[in-house]
């Protein structure tokens, strides 16, 4: 990205947001997640965000950089998600934050971003322009888990709905639990219990695999953070 003014950068951020139609984070139920896009993924900005996330008790999920980095922080119990664009500015003296919610610009010194705002002003002084777009829970799509047996989809489970279910498999049986946006296998007739030991999964492309029972449980979301996972 070439040099941009504050206004140009905001427009750029909004155009990207518009293109992805707020489907960016997609799926984490009752969590707040912030996506930060920066042209300086390994630099000071990431450090600020990292420190910020610790401060606010946000949890790091994912980061990436092409020309930009996408950092996601989730926080249980929040029905909000936000996209943060940050950009290093040569001219601006202060850190600027713009919060956009449902197309309206909010005062970042109040409410949820008050902490973020004061923190960024302190630590990122004179370097960054941050714009944050907030997505309400009502805009988000529900996360779901897909249970495949023998390569066929047999069930789709809403991760927002806590439940325990039993599954008859070609080789025996399994007991699956959905709890607070996460899913796990609690019992299985298989020998090595690798599926049980995998524990909870909650993010797109995370998998629980039980070879003896020929079952794969995976999480689907609107933002495939990655196309596959090597493990």
């Amino acid at each position: 990205m070439a040099k941009m003014t504050r206004r140009e950068f905001l427009l750029f951020s909004l155009s990207v947001l518009g293109a992805s139609a707020f489907k960016f984070s997609g799926r984490e139920n009752n969590r707040m997640s912030i996506h930060a896009i920066t042209s300086d993924p390994e630099g000071t900005y990431s450090m600020i965000i990292t420190r910020l996330s610790q401060e606010m008790d946000l949890h790091t999920v994912f980061a990436d950089a092409e020309t930009a980095a996408l950092l996601t922080y989730t926080r249980p119990g929040r029905g909000l998600r936000a996209v943060v664009f940050a950009r290093k500015l040569e001219k601006e003296e202060d850190t600027n934050i713009t919060v956009v919610k449902d197309g309206h610009i909010l005062d970042p010194r109040k409410g949820l971003f008050r902490q973020v705002y004061s923190k960024l002003r302190k630590e990122g002084k004179g370097t960054y322009l941050i714009s944050i777009a907030v997505e309400d829970e009502k805009l988000s799509e529900k996360a779901k888990a897909v249970v495949e047996m023998d390569g066929r989809r047999i069930k789709e489970l809403d991760l927002a709905e806590n439940r325990v279910l039993e599954l008859k498999t070609p080789a025996g049986r399994m007991k699956i639990e959905v709890k607070e946006g996460k899913i796990r296998v609690i019992e299985s007739s298989c020998r090595n219990k690798i599926c049980v030991r995998t524990g909870f999964i909650s993010r797109p492309h995370e998998k629980i695999v039980c070879i003896p029972n020929r079952v794969i449980i995976s999480v689907e979301g609107t933002l495939p953070a990655v196309d596959a996972v090597t493990s």
């Binding site: 155009s15 492309h205 695999v209 020929r214 996972v229």
Partner: protein, 328 residues
Amino acid sequence: MKKALPAALLLFLLTGCRNEELKLYRRTGFYLGTYVTVSLYSQKNAEPLLEKVFAEIKRISDKYSAEDPSSYINRLCQRAQKSYVELDEESLFLLKSSSKISSLTCGAFDLTLGPLKKLWGFNSKPRLPSQEEIKEVLEKTGWKKVHLKGRSLKLDSGCFFDLSGIAKGYAVDRAVEILRSAGIKSALVDAGGDIYALGKKPDGSKWRIGVKHPRKEGLIAVVELENSAIATSGDYENFFIKDGKRYHHIFNPSTGYPASLCQSVTVVAPTTLEADALSTALFVMGPQKSREVARNLGLSVLIVDSRGQVHPFEFSGVRFKIIGGGKK
């Protein structure tokens, strides 16, 4: 705002139109002791092609199955313990590839550890064997028990091959070959985390592969690939804990005990066979020696050592984006 909306709309339309012609085809099957998922983009119906790909994966899975006593490889090993047996082209290729990787890694990659795996019971009931038992089994393992004359193979008595350390990667490569020759430009083949990324995605971006965190939920790194393979060996998938110590299924061929220098090793390589075998070998070698191997071969390798420290050795163009810290 007014300026941004048309731009956004245009972007949406452009990507929308381009993707319309290509459809995603996806299938999962259970072979090679794991799951295999093939995802591909094609303009025409790709179901017959998927059929062909999975037939090939099944063929390799059956032929080199370590569990099935009547599999080609197990029958071959039995006969080769008695006299020289001629190998077919494919098995010769696999054997030579393994022995090459073995010599590149100072013997850290060893296909003759079948008896050791059996002793530790990782495919059935895992247990901690006694030192005497391990010593006894180590007598039967090692490349020195393998004799190759031209195309003919002879094994010392009690020695047998377990090709599971290489067959998975090989099967992925074969699947990719079939896809390529059918004109597929964009596909992802994933055999239990041994992955080949063919071409780019239809939107022009590279395939994004996450590397699992060896101790926590989620990922430790993300890497972008195009016409490249990636595989990970970790101590977290098949293990048991006894008296507070973790025993897993990747063995140090010289001690007969699980290798203890790493939590996970991820290798990006030109072929899945290499990525698969090298991730196992480097896991045994540990971060220091692995760095040398990665440099000599020009590979990108990500190692999480036994203390949870992350070591990215990037000697190819591929770079790992580290996400999580290393510690628990």
